[in-house]
Symmetry: C2
Subunit: 141 residues, 2 copies
């Protein structure tokens, strides 16, 4: 089945995501409680890519429930953007092309551990509830 086309992301949001930023991603554990972890991410058109070693328990989370939330932090870490998404594909990263592209965004080098078996979650961004430009960090959360 072909991937479901999504409406294009607004340009300001796409531009924000196109920079090599850090994100924190939330998935759901067995039982439904959330769990968060900091991560790099990649882009493939309007999709976000999340790369995981095949041993990550987070893969089991995503196979059970594809909902994810991400907060994408600004270069200067003082601003942030939160968005809601769904994993539409979980694919093997054959040849490590996905993690190489993600790592190069941050370090300029490919992923160092060439023997890794990794999977890539392709995330369709569904909503960005806080969008109005990235939000300044504050106590208000």
């Amino acid at each position: 089945m072909a991937p479901i086309p999504a409406a294009p992301l607004p340009p300001e949001l796409a531009n924000y995501l196109a920079a090599p930023r850090f994100a924190v991603v939330a998935t759901l554990r067995y039982g439904g409680a959330p769990v968060t972890v900091a991560t790099w991410y990649g882009l493939e058109g309007d999709r976000l890519l999340l790369s995981m070693d095949e041993t990550r328990v987070r893969l089991a989370h995503l196979r059970r429930d594809p909902h994810v939330a991400l907060t994408v932090l600004d270069d200067e870490w003082s601003r942030h953007l939160s968005l809601l998404g769904t994993v539409e594909t979980l694919r093997e990263d054959r040849g490590l092309a996905d993690i190489d592209a993600i790592t190069r965004r941050h370090t300029g080098e490919p992923w160092p551990d060439r023997g890794d078996r990794r999977l890539t979650a392709v995330v369709r961004v569904g909503r960005w509830p806080t969008w109005g430009g990235p939000v300044e960090m504050s106590g208000d959360g």
Copy 2:
């Protein structure tokens, strides 16, 4: 009912949390999908404090399901610590004492908006699945 005493946090973890760091917190929306947002936090003994304006939809999330996950980012934003918690009390921040203490950690000043009505979620930290010292940021999430 008195709050349930929790085991003290390991000193290295307590020290990490005691610094004025940024966090990303995940809660559950209606329907159970996660949502994340960047936030400051405070400390009250071994509890984390999250302060929210009374209009925040996140309060409805927490009243329905008290599970939260936080990723607490390092000063230099290159390391992070993830932990799982539960809101054990949601209290009115009368006099804005909680948000003042949280804001002073970051800016040295009290919260500027003195007319705000705010609530404080008191979070009991239950687990820190990634702990082994804060983890370096990488593509591995």
